[in-house]
């Protein structure tokens, strides 16, 4: 048996996407939380905690796009054209907040509030439409002859708008627990308080999505609610509840790092559940990773570069997080 290239590429892209979700997730979360923090110094501090790393996080988004085109051109063309408006709005949000991020450091006092607002708005728009895109992806796309044949507004469904809101809550949790880890004193207390309702809200949202999806899609129900699958997959929802409980406990106690790590686990579990529901479809509900794959000559050629360079990117990422580890204090900036 030869090497299953589409499988390897699906894992690489799934990994890259997860890296993106958890890493850009917490820095988008900072933007989502920023309107709730009035104090100027606290707001600067929040931004400072992610300043050294945020743009590296978006690396994974560009890499994901290029890799999808190389390995699964059919999926790239169908998904991106079907999600035209939400993706363009997401990109607009990301660009807007990216430059706002940089320019708020450099702007005069008079211009700062403008860039602050741009940072918050950009974060909300980017996250909401990312969530909408996710929901539409779960809903699936109308495909005929290798092209999307649905309408320009097919993505507007109650479910996708709901997942848009859901992702805002999820990223807010990542942002709040990240700040519990990276800050001290009043801001940290504030974030501990804020994180509690957010994590409960997220649990409720995950619950709703977990029921809504199998009710709307018979094949998803068939994946989860039959024996023996039910037993294999049972740890996922159980762990979700346990993780939520553990987050609440560590928030109430003296946990600094634990809430963030557990929140990452929660997101990872949600991501896994999604993977179980959709596997092996890359264009839900019918096109599989093998049907959408580019020829082996293409996947093999691109794989050489990916396997050589992705480890370097991972090492560099780990190193930059290591360098900027520890608490960030007011007036100190970065270290």
């Amino acid at each position: 048996m030869g090497v299953d290239l589409p499988m390897i590429w699906a894992l690489i892209i799934a990994f890259g996407l997860m890296m993106y979700v958890i890493m850009d997730g917490f820095d988008l979360g900072i933007g989502i939380l920023s309107p709730f923090v009035r104090d100027r110094e606290d707001r600067d501090l929040m931004v400072n905690t992610v300043a050294p790393v945020w743009d590296g996080n978006e690396t994974w988004l560009v890499l994901g796009g290029a890799a999808l085109l190389a390995a699964f051109p059919l999926a790239y063309s169908v998904i991106l054209s079907a999600l035209y408006l939400p993706l363009v709005l997401m990109l607009a949000g990301l660009i807007w907040r990216g430059v706002a991020f940089e320019f708020r450091f450099k702007a005069d006092e008079a211009h700062r509030p403008f860039w602050d607002k741009a940072f918050a708005w950009g974060s909300y728009i980017a996250t909401f439409f990312q969530g909408v895109a996710l929901g539409s992806f779960i809903n699936g796309f109308k495909v005929e002859d290798g092209a999307f044949v649905g309408g320009a507004f097919d993505w507007v469904t109650p479910f996708s708008l709901f997942t848009g809101l859901g992702l805002l809550v999820a990223y807010a949790l990542l942002g709040a627990t990240w700040l519990v880890m990276k800050t001290e004193g009043a801001l940290q207390r504030r974030m501990r308080e804020l994180a509690k309702p957010v994590v409960l809200g997220l649990l409720a949202l995950i619950g709703v999505v977990s029921l809504w999806t199998p009710f709307a899609h018979a094949d998803v129900a068939a994946r989860w609610f039959v024996l023996p699958n039910m037993l294999f997959f049972a740890p996922v929802p159980i762990l979700v509840v346990l993780a939520t409980w553990a987050i609440l406990r560590s928030l109430a106690g003296d946990g600094h790092t634990a809430p963030f790590v557990l929140s990452l686990l929660l997101l990872f579990l949600g991501y896994t559940g999604l993977g179980i529901s959709l596997w092996p479809h890359i264009i839900p509900p019918v096109v599989s990773i093998w049907q959408a794959a580019s020829p082996p000559q293409s996947q093999g050629f691109a794989l050489v570069g990916a396997l050589f360079i992705i480890p370097f990117i991972l090492m560099y990422t780990a190193w930059s997080y290591y360098v900027f580890r520890g608490k960030v204090r007011a007036g100190e900036g970065y270290h």
Partner: protein
């Protein structure tokens, strides 16, 4: 919007976003090599002007790099959002090439950009110089992958079509396709020229403002040497590229020359100016120079180029547009040659930094490299029409199935946002240029001293005391 079809709007949107994007990588490519030369001279000659210039330009380089990354994010998605039929058909070739571009860019960023921008005092001079050289090489490698992809779309080879999809048969043939070497050389030289003109104009502006410091004079002098050497080489490279295009895309040559009739046995004149009319199939008000067309385009006084009428009307690129974009590019190229020669004459007369008329000309020529670069790209891309993969896939068959109203909305959004975002970015860069290089004494770059606690990201390498807002 304005009665345009979804296809036309998608083309305008792609052209708009890619034109904005390409300006930043072009300066990145040129500036990275310039910085490597400056650092080499500093290590070799130990004259502080080179170090001061290095620190001055590396801050501007950093902002420019950041703008390139941000504008590039959109490009990675547009092939799917707006050109989905192109992506599903040809993604198996352009996708891996694009992935290699992204991977090389990130590899470079992960490894060496941080050292280059923030490591001046943290690593030894040898290692720092090595990092700068690697960044310069990295920008050229990125350009190589992107131009391989674009050139393959212009002159495709090394593939088969199986089941409605392109399948790569020979990657070496795909990458080293017939127009690739010419396009790579032409684009790299264009990036170098654009940077030299930008640097030269900045220096000339400072001298005109009465700030003729040694660093500023060195800046102007180096830029003018670069223009003097590169402009003629670029003209030769462009000429060779033209011969290559005549061989593989004769319709493009006929259109950019406004040449309609095939005239066996007669020489082809060169139309200096005119107004090509696509409906009437004629170039109106043509001002012709006999023999010159044959001579330039075929290097033979009696050489032939096929007229545009010998191609079916649906296979003709729009002559009215590329006739002019081509002339803008060539005209600016000749002005660059003039600038370089004038600088040489003044240098011999030892009045390079005192001749105000020349300095004003140098300031005016500041954006000429980038304008010529855009005009050249418009010529080659519009000249490729009606094909997106030349002779294989038509542009109208490549576009996504969106209603015109939706593409109008996104186009308007991109226009407003790009003008705001990149307008602010460019104005910030120009403000940094206007501050001028800081004189000697100081052993460390400004961003190392004042901003010791800044994060290690490109834009953070720029000065903090300059407000980006447009006023």
């Amino acid at each position: 919007m304005f009665g345009l079809t979804a296809l036309e709007l998608s083309r305008i949107q792609f052209g708009f976003t890619v034109s904005f994007h390409i300006l930043f990588p072009a300066i990145t490519i040129g500036m990275a090599s310039y910085l490597a030369v400056l650092e080499g001279l500093w290590l070799w000659r130990k004259q502080s002007v080179y170090r001061d210039l290095y620190h001055f330009w590396s801050g501007i380089f950093a902002v420019n790099f950041g703008m390139g990354v941000v504008s590039g994010l959109v490009m990675a998605y547009q092939f799917g959002t707006n050109w989905s039929r192109f992506s599903s058909f040809a993604g198996s070739i352009t996708g891996p090439l694009l992935s290699y571009e992204v991977l090389s860019a990130f590899f470079l960023e992960a490894g060496f950009l941080g050292v280059m921008l923030f490591g001046w005092r943290k690593v030894g001079p040898g290692l720092h110089f090595f990092a700068t050289i690697m960044v310069a090489i990295g920008t050229l490698i990125s350009a190589t992958w992107i131009l391989a992809s674009n050139s393959w779309m212009q002159t495709p080879q090394g593939y088969q079509i199986i089941g409605g999809q392109v399948v790569p048969v020979d990657w070496l043939k795909v990458i080293f396709n017939p127009s690739f070497p010419y396009r790579l050389v032409h684009m790299t030289l264009a990036a170098y020229l654009s940077t030299a003109l930008f640097v030269g104009a900045s220096g000339a502006w400072h001298i005109l403002r009465g700030r003729s410091t040694p660093a500023v004079r060195t800046m102007v002098s180096m830029a003018m040497w670069m223009v003097l050497i590169t402009a003629p080489i670029q003209i030769l490279a462009g000429d060779a590229h033209g011969l290559n295009t005549l061989k593989y895309q004769p319709a493009k040559i006929a259109a950019l020359e406004g040449h309609w009739e095939s005239t066996p046995g007669q020489s082809v004149p060169l139309i200096l100016f005119g107004l090509p009319d696509m409906q009437a199939e004629i170039t109106r008000y043509a001002l012709e120079v006999p023999y010159l067309g044959s001579l330039i385009l075929t290097h033979d006084l009696h050489g032939q180029i096929p007229g545009l009428k010998s191609f079916a009307p649906q296979d003709r690129p729009n002559s009215t547009i590329i006739f002019f974009t081509f002339r803008i590019m060539v005209g600016l190229g000749l002005l660059m040659l003039l600038l370089g020669l004038w600088a040489l004459v003044l240098r011999i007369r030892r009045s390079l930094f005192e001749t105000r008329l020349f300095l004003r000309f140098a300031v005016l020529m500041g954006p000429a490299g980038l304008i010529a670069l855009l005009a050249g790209w418009l010529t080659t891309e519009i000249g490729r029409q009606p094909w997106v993969v030349y002779g294989v896939l038509r542009t109208r068959d490549a576009v996504s199935n969106h209603p015109a109203s939706v593409v109008s909305m996104t186009l308007a959004l991109f226009m407003v946002m790009y003008l705001a975002v990149f307008g602010t970015g460019v104005s910030y860069m120009i403000k940094l240029v206007a501050k001028g290089p800081q004189e000697g004494a100081d052993e460390e770059p400004p961003h190392d001293k004042d901003q010791a606690l800044r994060p290690a990201r490109p834009l953070s390498a720029a000065r903090d005391d300059v407000d980006p807002a447009i006023r």
